[in-house]
């Protein structure tokens, strides 16, 4: 094989897949950006008019839903971390022969459709369900109150649906942890809490960063949980984008909203990764580059 041919091989291997991603991911983003600056209606067609007012209008009108999306996603991410870390820790260090079975239980929810899982929570939190009457007996929910159509229901749904995305990277990070470091901590008279805070937590930080991103990003854009478990006062930005595109068909404002969401998430992503200091989403191998 000549060296020129050999140098072209990687490009030949990359071409089909990368062209697919460029044509159906990058270029659509461009089209969406263009659409967001046009004015018009679906009947009259759209003209390019550099209408940046689409952005200011959209953001000022739907700031509540933007704020709500990031607030719900933020709370759900924190809850996922608080629930997921002990679970990942238990699987990595305490499960012994049950490790595979517990890991299997973590991914088991993926084997039922996302929508059906969310609807199952609607059944569980329904006004007539036993779970809600228990909550009422415990006075955690007022006697005439509901659980469905509240912020708590939407956040619980988000937490539930994205928990595996938190647990899996945490587990991967914990399992790679060199146990001799924990023993060294103990030998140097660190308490269990100190060992955790000074050894385990810093070393598993890349796993935490990956888990937080994999939970927060999809949760912030989600509209399924708010649709099924929330009421009109729980609409997130995803709900607005969805209904503007598919129901109201106000395309340019919908595109502006969607572009804004993407921009906010990208900026947050860059800041977070800079702050946490790891290229977590790409896996460890990237850092070595």
């Amino acid at each position: 094989m000549t060296s020129v041919r050999r140098r072209l091989v990687p490009y030949g291997l990359l071409a089909p897949g990368l062209i697919w991603l460029i044509v159906f991911f990058v270029i659509p983003m461009y089209y969406m950006g263009e659409l967001s600056l046009k004015t018009g209606t679906i009947e009259t067609g759209y003209q390019m008019s550099w209408a940046f007012s689409n952005y200011t209008d959209a953001i000022s009108q739907y700031s509540t839903q933007f704020f709500r999306a990031f607030y719900y996603a933020g709370v759900a991410t924190v809850l996922c971390l608080l629930i997921g870390y002990p679970l990942a820790y238990a699987i990595a260090f305490k499960a012994g022969r049950w490790k595979n079975l517990m890991l299997f239980a973590v991914v088991a929810p993926f084997f039922t459709t996302y929508l059906i899982r969310t609807i199952a929570w609607k059944t569980i939190l329904d006004d007539s369900s036993p779970a809600v009457s228990v909550l009422k007996t415990l006075h955690l929910v007022p006697q005439d109150g509901r659980v469905l159509a509240t912020s708590a229901a939407v956040i619980a749904g988000l937490t539930y649906n994205f928990l595996p995305f938190m647990v899996l990277p945490l587990f991967a990070a914990l399992e790679r942890l060199d146990r001799r470091l924990l023993e060294a901590g103990k030998d140097l008279y660190a308490s269990a809490t100190q060992t955790f805070l000074k050894v385990t937590l810093p070393i598993t930080m890349p796993g935490i960063v990956a888990g937080v991103l994999l939970t927060f990003i999809p949760a912030a854009g989600d509209y399924v949980n708010a649709t099924f478990l929330g009421g009109t006062n729980q609409a997130m930005i995803g709900n607005v984008i969805q209904s503007k595109y598919l129901v109201v068909r106000d395309y340019s404002e919908a595109a502006a909203l969607s572009f804004t969401l993407m921009a906010i998430i990208l900026v947050a992503l860059i800041i977070y990764i800079k702050f946490a200091g790891t290229g977590a989403l790409m896996g460890d191998e990237e850092e070595a580059e």
């Binding site: 990368l18 088991a108 084997f111 459709t113 984008i241 595109a255 993407m262």
Partner: protein, 283 residues
């Protein structure tokens, strides 16, 4: 006092098991309500036990059709995404070339993009361009697009742990590049390729958000459920969901059991053998 100590020692495990219960409760509810006998259109309240819906799981034509569309879509998505993704993974792991970082970035960004944005941008593209008719073909385009990145990640991790010397050995024995790939490389990365294909199948069959934007009048299984939500979801949806779950669980268990057996049967690690000199080398 004793109980208190036990609790403290096992606190992490207890928290873990509680978390797992939280994750598994909805699955239990879905299965339970596939045996419910609701009086109205809505299957949210437990009324009574019946197996009538299990006897006729495919009685609703639209539901069965939607399921078949989803299976067909997932099948073609798995094939397309696995081929494209495996080629990219090979290029990224095996070659140093100009533009490698840009290629990496292009693969990672779709995974860091909210689904609603991917769906919206694709719809903007399809509407403006007016070349593709919204339907099965736009769904396939979208599903392959969002599955490729996951395939790359899975296959790449398999390739990184690959012993290159095996390929060199094949070439020393006179095999050409294509034969080496077919007889040595492909069988060795096969487990990674198969799991990548299964993952993209699962991603496709489960996708609702992106499909909702680009389906036109085509109805997939998740889209059927979304549409049926207003008028009441038939019990058959629970039956089919439970079936799909059971089939996947059984398949996974078979794989796990076989792996266990293979681990037991296969040769011990060198250090173990060194520690037990009395034992003969297993072949």
């Amino acid at each position: 006092m004793k109980a208190w100590r036990w609790l403290r020692e096992n606190a992490v495990m207890i928290a873990g098991i509680l978390a797992l219960l939280y994750m598994l409760t909805p699955i239990f509810v879905i299965a339970l309500f596939s045996f419910n006998d609701p009086t109205g259109r809505y299957n949210f309240e437990w009324v009574g036990f019946t197996t009538q819906y299990w006897a006729h799981p495919f009685a609703i034509t639209e539901l069965t059709d939607a399921l078949l569309v989803s299976i067909r879509l997932a099948f073609f998505t798995a094939i397309g995404a696995t081929i494209l993704g495996t080629l990219i993974a090979i290029a990224l792991v095996r070659y140093q070339f100009f533009g490698r970082r840009a290629a990496n970035l292009l693969i990672v960004i779709p995974m860091a993009t909210p689904e609603v944005v991917i769906g919206a941008s694709l719809l903007s593209f399809f509407l403006t361009l007016d070349v593709f008719k919204l339907g099965f073909q736009t769904l396939l385009i979208a599903h392959i697009m969002f599955s490729v990145s996951f395939v790359v990640i899975v296959v790449r991790s398999r390739l990184i742990g690959f012993d290159r010397r095996l390929e060199e050995a094949a070439q020393d024995l006179g095999a050409n590049a294509l034969t080496t790939f077919r007889k040595v490389t492909l069988p060795l990365i096969a487990p990674g390729v198969v799991s990548a294909a299964l993952l993209s199948f699962a991603l496709s069959i489960d996708d609702f958000v992106i499909s909702n934007f680009n389906s036109g009048s085509t109805v997939t299984f998740p889209l059927y459920i979304f549409g049926a939500n207003q008028r009441g979801i038939p019990v058959q949806v629970n039956v089919i969901a439970t079936m799909l779950f059971a089939v996947t669980v059984i398949a996974m268990l078979v794989v796990i059991i076989q792996q266990r057996r293979a681990e037991k049967a296969s040769a011990m690690r060198p250090e173990e053998i060194a520690n037990k000199p009395a034992m003969s080398l297993p072949v």
